[in-house]
């Protein structure tokens, strides 16, 4: 909670009124499934928990629909961090969407790392509809982590 207050102070001091997408105020994009994580995020809301406002959520039916292409596109459009989140293994609303995607993510992530993308910038999580607190923790930690990265993150997505 204290961190949150400090965060708030910082934001007030800052001149930016909107999330600028800079390294100090990074834009995060979260691709979440409709059934678990989106509901988990809603629960954080109905529980009036507070968390970093750097994140923008894009809702999809299932982690099975969340394509690595989306991650690439988000980085291309200036996101400093991309989160993918869905139902825990075994809880997929569509039985196996998260299992199939998990394989793809594990591989894609290796490939990104090998090609020089800082893997601190891509995060995956399983957040259930009852884990509002986990959503808050994941978003806050991820935001902090991204902010702590060196400014000069050049990688294959950046135009030189």
């Amino acid at each position: 909670m204290e961190d949150m207050n400090v965060e708030k102070e910082k934001q007030k001091e800052g001149t930016a009124s909107a999330n600028t997408g800079s390294q100090s105020d990074p834009r995060l994009i979260a691709f979440v499934c409709n059934w678990c994580t989106y509901n988990g995020a809603d629960l954080a809301g109905t529980s009036r928990m507070k968390y970093s406002d750097n994140v923008r959520v894009i809702k999809l039916p299932c982690t099975g629909r969340i394509d690595p292409l989306f991650i690439v596109e988000a980085f291309k459009k200036g996101a400093k961090g991309v989160l993918v989140s869905g139902c825990h293994p075994g809880d997929c609303h569509y039985t196996s969407g998260n299992y199939h995607s998990r394989r793809k993510y594990a591989t894609f992530r290796d490939l990104l790392g090998y090609l020089g993308v800082d893997l601190n910038r891509v995060e995956f999580s399983w957040i259930s509809a009852s884990e509002g607190n986990k959503w808050v923790a994941v978003i806050n930690e991820f935001t902090d982590k991204i902010k702590s990265l060196p400014d000069k993150t050049t990688d294959i997505f950046t135009k030189k």
Binding site: K8, A18, N19, T46, Y94
Partner: protein
């Protein structure tokens, strides 16, 4: 050209206190294609909805974005309102600025900026929305029930009583399943055949039920509303419609010693032509060709044929394939008892007087091999001391299965109780790890076995059973007293656990429904959709889903039936239109989409030219089965498949709208 209306909801102060709703509205108005932007105190209220409808009408909107509470709250409300003005319901999108903005952030400026982002994102999405029509699938109002045990019979009767035709298919020569093998039932001790037989007869005589016994499912294709089923009616060698069940044939059969009765679990013999048990339904014998002398000795023996009055024995009968079209299916394939041969230490199979729980049921049963008198299989003597061993195979990941079989605690208590009732002065000992007696009257029943019927319960497993001087020495432990215990018993009953019926995995594959690693059929949702399989139109009942007792099996049969009656109460089955579709021009038929589809919704489609030559093979989506999860899109390398409601170009536009 899009004509989008944006409606920003205050939600009283819930949104408005943290988000500058006017700012959001102003930003919305600037977006190309947005022809109307309003804010209102409560969009979900009647006046709010009316204003939404008015704007749709007046401005002739092609799409609506509500910046309001979570779509899980009011998406449906607003869609319904839009439909009333002739707008396709899927042209309504929600930007969640309450649960995911105003309630979780505090800095008003930044929260407003985020709300604007989300609103813009949804405007971009709605611009690309395509009209989606819900899919209507015609229904063949006939149901197939697979398995004629208690849950299958219950399901069939309930459906039939609802006025719907049912086909009931049973693998064995008679319906009745496992329940008809039981003696009395816990916790009320009513006689199983007394309550089961009337149900079997009712199923047989019901005008809406067509019964196929000694029959198996050969093939299933199609989808909800329209399953094509092939049933193999195995050659019974007896013409069912002519047979009177008089019994002259099996009385005449010379093979009366060497064939073990499956129904009595090898505790007695049967003839080559036989009914499995006297109350069989239908009461028509079946001729077991694998042991019949007529078939083994080149047609010489035909004693049954000679004995039969109506001459209904037909040695030349062939297997028959029957095709049926049904709209819904119930899988109630039941269970088997676990094999205990892996327990060398318990000597099952080696010592005749070590029997399984179901074998003991037959020994208790008045219609069983001993006519209800408890006799040891080895020498026919009545045992005075019986040791019951619980959790044999269950809760044993090393040799058996890790799960609890649920019914063994109760049936063992029943066994001990009935043993006490039948053999006065006898003594039973029960080795248990935990007692699980959680339904109505169950705990009292178990206590009664101990307190009134004198069964001694020992908390521990048995390590070894061996024979000594005609007695079975049971070496167990009682962990409560911390002692090793040896009991000299006349008989040992192993409370063997339950496993899915052999072959139920094969059937599941045929049906395209999922099953767990043990072979139990899995529910669409373990809590909220316990009667449905993962495939639309296929329902589950009974032990095929996992260990359960008789009342639960009956309930599940009824649940499946009520689901089907509900389904059939409409003229057509409606599926949400948010399903996948294939771009046939670019599809190369690698079928990764099919591999990842959990619903078997992807099929092979051949595109033919005018003369009927196949020019191309492509993937095709079955609208009755697709649930719109989108896993196929992720699997497709060339993006030749897309899912309505979450199309690739929409996601792309959403991401683009968030560019910084």
């Amino acid at each position: 050209m899009s004509r989008i209306g944006v409606f920003v909801c205050w939600c009283g102060s819930n949104i408005a206190s943290t988000v500058d709703v006017e700012k959001v509205r102003e930003e919305a108005a600037k977006i190309p294609g947005v022809v109307s932007a309003v804010d209102y105190k409560y969009m979900c209220s009647d006046p709010g909805q009316n204003s939404l409808r008015n704007v749709i009408k007046e401005k002739n909107l092609t799409g609506v974005v509500l910046a309001a509470c979570s779509p899980h709250m009011h998406e449906n409300t607003f869609r319904k309102a839009a439909v009333k003005e002739g707008l396709n319901p899927y042209f309504v999108e929600i930007a969640n600025i309450r649960e995911q903005v105003s309630w979780v952030h505090e800095d008003k400026e930044r929260a407003t900026a985020k709300a604007v982002d989300l609103m813009k994102m949804m405007v971009e999405k709605v611009k690309r929305d395509k009209p989606i029509e819900d899919v209507r699938v015609p229904l063949n109002k006939k149901a197939l029930v697979i398995g004629g045990g208690i849950s299958g019979i219950q399901a069939a009767l309930d459906i039939a009583n609802g006025g719907v035709e049912v086909i009931l298919v049973e693998k064995e020569p008679s319906i009745g399943g496992r329940m008809i093998q039981l003696d009395e039932t816990f916790p009320t001790l009513d006689c199983s055949s007394c309550i089961m037989t009337p149900k079997m007869v009712e199923a047989n005589q019901h005008p809406n039920i067509k019964l196929y016994t000694y029959s198996e499912i050969e093939d299933v294709s199609g989808y909800i509303g329209n399953f094509k089923v092939k049933i193999k009616k195995k050659a019974r060698s007896v013409v069912e419609k002519d047979c009177t069940g008089c019994g002259e044939c099996w009385n005449a059969c010379p093979m009366h010693k060497n064939v073990k009765s499956e129904f009595n679990l090898n505790l007695s013999e049967r003839t080559a032509i036989y009914v499995p048990f006297p109350q069989a339904v239908p009461l028509v014998p079946v001729l077991d060709r694998s042991v019949c002398l007529h078939f083994k000795k080149g047609g010489k023996c035909q004693k049954c044929f000679d004995a039969c009055g109506p001459k209904c024995i037909d040695f030349s009968m062939q297997d028959e394939i029957i095709e049926e079209t049904v709209g819904a299916i119930v899988a109630a394939t039941g269970y088997d008892l676990m094999e205990t041969s892996m327990y060398g230490e318990y000597g099952y199979g080696k010592y005749k007087d070590v029997v399984s729980g179901l074998q003991f049921e037959r020994l208790l049963s008045a219609s069983g091999p001993t006519e209800g008198v408890i006799k040891r299989p080895s020498d026919g003597k009545t045992p005075q001391t019986i040791v019951f061993v619980q959790c044999v195979g269950s809760r044993d990941p090393e040799k058996g299965v890790p799960y609890c079989s649920k019914v063994c605690c109760m049936y063992t208590a029943k066994h001990a109780k009935l043993f006490a009732h039948k053999v006065h002065g006898s003594q039973s000992y029960v080795f248990y790890i935990d007692i699980r007696s959680t339904s109505k009257g169950y705990e009292e029943f178990v206590r009664g076995t101990m307190e009134q019927d004198g069964a001694v319960y020992l908390r521990g497993r048995v390590s070894k059973i061996y024979e000594d001087n005609g007695k079975l020495i049971v070496k167990g432990a009682d962990t409560l007293s911390g002692n090793q215990v040896e009991i000299a018993a006349d008989m040992v009953v192993l409370a063997t656990g339950v496993i899915p019926k052999k072959g139920s995995d094969k059937l599941a594959q045929m049906l395209g429904i999922s099953y767990d690693k043990y072979g139990f059929l899995t529910e669409s949702h373990p809590k909220l959709r316990p009667a449905e399989s993962s495939t639309a139109g296929i329902y589950l009942a009974g032990m095929a889903q996992g260990p359960r007792d008789i009342p639960e099996s009956v309930v599940s049969g009824s649940a499946a039936a009520s689901k089907i009656l509900g389904l059939f109460s409409k003229s057509e089955y409606e599926v949400e239109g948010t399903i996948s579709s294939v771009n046939e021009a670019t599809c190369v038929a690698c079928f990764y989409c099919q591999r990842v589809c959990a619903y078997n919704a992807i099929t092979r489609k051949e595109i033919k030219d005018r003369s009927g030559n196949v020019v191309k093979v492509v993937a095709s989506v079955n609208p009755g089965l697709c649930t719109g999860c989108g896993a196929c899109v992720n699997a497709c390398f060339s993006k030749s498949i897309d899912v309505k409601g979450f199309m690739d170009d929409q996601i792309y536009a959403e991401i683009k709208s968030l560019a910084v």
